[in-house]
């Protein structure tokens, strides 16, 4: 690393000094991105001349030099297309590179998600970073390829066969003679490898790991807790102005006119920018931009209206046309249900919810002379490169998107749309512009997590075993991630005239071509057979899963565990309803119908941690405070991680208030890369899941969103009476690395509903479990 780069890192808040008490571990610096003077430094270090790859100017995935560069001082720079969004992945990636390359952690610098510098790895989302970079491909394979390439170079340098050599602490040396050694810096320092990624390169076995798999502290933590870390919100570019947008007053309103005289002469105002229905202002200072946006008189048409909030689930169920997806169909479900000793039906409802990032979204754009640089906390730098180009009328190769840390997003929050806002405003004034949303702009116009209406039906035999499971769901969609070519999937693109992705009706669904349970629409307890291949996690042969996608009145998009959480809420509530009907302990009942060992193992692990006893279910308390426990489990996306939860509650039967007291989580995400980071994700997911299950619901009136701040959108705060959380990690060194960030959140709502049922005998089939809803259900029962 050069002195310049080191200085830049210091300014970005990433120190190389020891910050870990007593650990003796040096902190690696990694966040180079977004620094004004970083480009030149990093570009000089960056590999190659960017021959054509998936993205117009990202380095090719199949070349080692795209991933790993070694300086003459032996320090390693690794380039990754998976970025830090608070999940700790940069630290884990640094561990991975250090491990595979046999260097100390403090020798590794990570550069992540810059369209000009790093390999195009698509989105950082959907629990895909761990599987993408920690299995034998991409970054992990790059590390292994580099180590073997270095051994090969060492062999030439030392005149010894590779079999006699090993990589140790940044050196290639003879296994039997430590005096015969050469450093990485001497072998390739400052030069390229010119080696293709080698699919045969051997990864270090987990049994030999000394850095990966250990609870290394987050490399960015010292900078975060001392206010030194650079977020996109803090980015200041020379000559930068400040923008603000003016959104329509209600959904579907279009711009009639803007009265620029209403802001004439305001201090600092630079420009009012109008493009079709997009309205924004640019000023010299943020407070000036805010005042100008507040004072600007814009006249809008009336909106297109919204369906009645109270009747939203009927509205969704009755929407036409639909796009139907049949995921499994054993073609005998109706017969089996008619022959069953007992049939149970239930409908579950899940509301629209929002990402609700604590920081309202922010982006900085510099659009000048036909070229654009966007600093954004997007999960999609390469996609944004293309859609920003569309919004600006530029070529995508003339757009550079640099990932810059933001507020936790949990999916598509406002950062893609505000990146468009910043780009439009910068283009209009020809200077760098920073834009940040008000709380209302963030919350009223984000792409919400989807509401779902879910019908469950199952038949039981005389012994209470499930013989057929029938699931039908309705889910609304509009817009979403802008992808490569759909800026209209988010509000800003729509306002300037792009349309959201077209809704393509399809009913009836074609028969399933291959088993796919990426949304967890298929319950874990069925066989999951398509043709002769059965890839489900259970043994129930009678199975049918049909999902109807309908047009949403609001923009929608991925919100942490999208659809997976909603479907799992229904399935894991319903399996408990079946267990209660069969009069069998809910965990025993689950295990009876599961066939997958990894899923059953996490269920057993959670049950064991919770000291689960087989007792009559539900217990149903009689005093004011009733206690209960519930279980829930998921094979996330079918095979991308396994989790089970046991959750214990207290329910105040007089007020309906539900308090989670203890949570036990069993989790298996393959080989554990950083156990403390994994626990942090599981704990955060559990409590965020609790907030979503207990409190969260987007609200609206007949024309606009009404939950546009923290008074209107209710969430659990830091000081709530939180449960204890115990996590049991099942390490699987021989399996593939899976996702981890969406595991625990997926199982909370089911476990919570089941625990409320255990405590009170009341089954609540609609989220959120507000005191009013719980109290009303208890009153109805008694």
């Amino acid at each position: 690393m050069t002195a310049d780069a080191r200085a830049a890192l210091q300014r970005a808040g990433f120190s190389r000094r020891d910050f870990l008490k007593g650990s003796g571990t040096l902190i690696v610096s990694f966040s180079l991105w977004g620094l004004k003077d970083f480009s030149a430094t990093a570009k000089a270090q960056a590999p190659g001349g960017f021959p054509s790859g998936v993205s117009p100017n990202s380095p090719p995935l199949n070349q080692l030099d795209s991933w790993i560069a070694i300086s003459s001082d032996g320090t390693v720079t690794a380039y990754s297309g998976k970025e830090e969004i608070g999940q700790g992945i940069v630290t884990a990636q640094a561990q991975l590179v250090a491990e595979e390359l046999c260097v100390a952690l403090d020798r590794v610098t990570m550069v992540c998600c810059d369209t000009a510098l790093t390999p195009d790895q698509g989105y950082t989302s959907g629990s895909q970073s761990h599987p993408a970079n920690f299995n034998k491909r991409n970054l992990a394979l790059a590390g292994a390829t580099a180590r073997e390439a270095l051994i090969g170079l060492g062999s030439q340098h030392l005149g010894m066969p590779v079999e006699r050599l090993t990589a140790v602490d940044g050196m290639i040396r003879a296994k039997d003679d430590a005096s015969k050694a050469v450093s990485y810096g001497d072998l390739v320092g400052g030069k390229k490898f010119h080696v293709a990624m080698d699919g045969k390169a051997k990864r270090k076995p987990a049994s030999e790991w000394t850095i990966l798999g250990t609870p290394v502290h987050r490399l960015d933590m010292p900078a975060l807790v001392t206010g030194q870390a650079e977020f996109v919100h803090n980015l200041r570019v020379t000559g930068m102005l400040h923008g603000r947008v003016v959104r329509p007053p209600c959904v579907g309103a279009t711009l009639i006119s803007v009265d620029e005289q209403s802001v004439e002469g305001l201090p600092g105002l630079v420009k009012v920018v109008v493009k079709k229905d997009f309205v924004g202002v640019v000023a010299e200072k943020p407070w000036q931009a805010i005042q100008a946006a507040n004072k600007l008189k814009a006249t809008w048409s009336s909106g297109t209206g919204l369906p009645n909030h109270q009747q939203i689930y009927d509205y969704l169920r009755n929407q036409k046309p639909t796009r139907d997806g049949l995921l499994v169909d054993s073609a005998d479900v109706d017969r089996k249900l008619s022959e069953a000793a007992g049939v149970l039906k239930a409908t579950y409802n899940y509301p629209y919810q929002m990402h609700g990032s604590v920081g309202s979204s922010c982006a900085v754009a510099d659009v000048q002379s036909g070229k654009a640089t966007i600093w954004s906390s997007t999960q999609a730098v390469w996609f944004l490169q293309n859609t920003v180009a569309m919004v600006l009328g530029l070529k995508s190769e003339d757009v550079r998107v640099i990932y810059t840390r933001g507020s936790g997003c949990y999916g598509l929050n406002g950062v893609d749309t505000i990146s468009f806002d910043a780009a439009l405003l910068s283009q209009a004034v020809g200077k760098p512009v920073r834009v940040q949303f008000t709380r209302r702009e963030e919350m009223a116009w984000e792409n919400f997590g989807q509401a779902l209406v879910m019908d469950e039906r199952a038949g039981l035999d005389a012994q209470g075993n499930i013989v057929a499971w029938d699931y039908e769901a309705w889910l609304p969609t509009l817009g979403g991630r802008p992808g490569t070519s759909s800026p209209g999937n988010v509000i800003t693109g729509f306002l300037i005239g792009f349309q959201p992705d077209a809704f393509v009706p399809r009913s009836p669904s074609p028969p399933p071509a291959a088993y796919n349970n990426v949304t967890n629409a298929v319950p874990s307890y069925v066989a999951g057979c398509v043709g002769d291949v059965c890839r489900g996690k259970g043994n129930v042969k009678g199975e049918r899963v049909l999902v109807h996608t309908v047009v949403s009145p609001f923009w929608t998009a991925q919100l942490r565990a999208p659809q997976r959480l909603q479907n799992t809420f229904a399935h894991e509530s319903f399996i408990d309803e079946l267990a209660a009907k069969a009069n069998v302990d809910p965990i025993e009942y689950r295990l009876r119908h599961l066939s997958d060992p990894r899923l059953t193992d996490v269920v057993k692990a959670a049950a064991k941690a919770a000291n689960w006893e087989n007792r009559p279910y539900p217990r149903v308390g009689t005093g004011r405070i009733a206690t209960g426990r519930g279980c829930s489990c998921v094979a996330y996306e079918g095979d991308n991680g396994f989790a089970a939860m046991v959750l214990e509650v207290e329910v105040d039967r007089d007020t309906g208030k539900v308090t989670a007291k203890r949570i036990f989580i069993g989790a298996d995400c393959g080989p554990i890369s950083n156990p403390d980071g994994l626990r942090n994700q599981l704990e955060g997911g559990a409590l965020q899941g609790l907030s979503r299950a207990l409190m969260e619901e987007v609200t609206w009136d007949n024309e606009k969103i009404t939950s546009f701040d923290w008074r209107g959108y209710h969430v659990l705060p830091l000081g709530f009476d939180m449960p204890s959380i115990e996590t049991v990690l099942l390490n699987r060194p021989g399996e593939n690395a899976t996702g981890a960030g969406e595991l625990s959140i997926t199982v909370v709502a089911g476990a919570l509903g089941n625990a409320i049922f255990d405590a009170t005998g009341v089954r609540i089939r609609e989220i959120p479990f507000t005191p009013g809803r719980v109290k009303a259900a208890i009153s109805k029962l008694s």
Partner: protein, 155 residues
């Protein structure tokens, strides 16, 4: 615009700003501080928290003129990477953050509270954090870090 003198993290700054400007913008834009952040602009979430006269206040709804002459402490004024405040060190020890956006509110609210309530019970500490929002829900670790610091400082 008017001339205002602001004391921030031990340094005195003579500024020419609109006196109604919320303190947050002056800290972020005129003084280029990274600690306090715009979360809601409504005083609801705590991300903009700074300490003035021993009180944790929401800088997004505090006009700059109202703190002229007072000492303002931001998250970076509490301690540095090289010399973190013990409360900041407790957050490192407990790995008590995910995205980290909310940390000014979390750490400075706890600091101001514990400075006045050194014998606070766990329950009182939790109540003191009721108005702070961490959407990553790092609650378990954050509360553990605050309680750890609280225990260690009374020793």
């Amino acid at each position: 615009m008017s001339a205002i003198t602001l004391k921030v993290n031990g340094s005195t700054h003579a500024l020419d700003v609109d006196p109604t400007t919320p303190l947050l913008y002056v800290l972020s834009d005129d003084l280029a501080l990274r600690g306090p952040k715009f979360g809601c602009g409504l005083g609801q979430c705590g991300a903009c928290t700074v300490i003035v006269k021993g009180q944790a206040i929401r800088s997004c709804i505090t006009p700059v003129q109202s703190v002229a002459g007072s000492e303002v402490t931001t998250l970076e004024g509490l301690g540095s990477i090289e010399k973190p405040h013990p409360l900041q060190q407790a957050f490192v020890d407990e790995q008590a953050a995910q995205c980290g956006f909310c940390l000014s509110g979390v750490i400075l609210t706890a600091k101001a509270f514990l400075d006045k309530n050194s014998e606070a019970t766990d329950e009182e500490i939790q109540k003191a954090m009721a108005g702070i929002l961490c959407r990553c829900y790092t609650n378990v670790r954050m509360l553990r870090a605050i309680k750890r610091y609280a225990r260690e400082r009374v020793k």
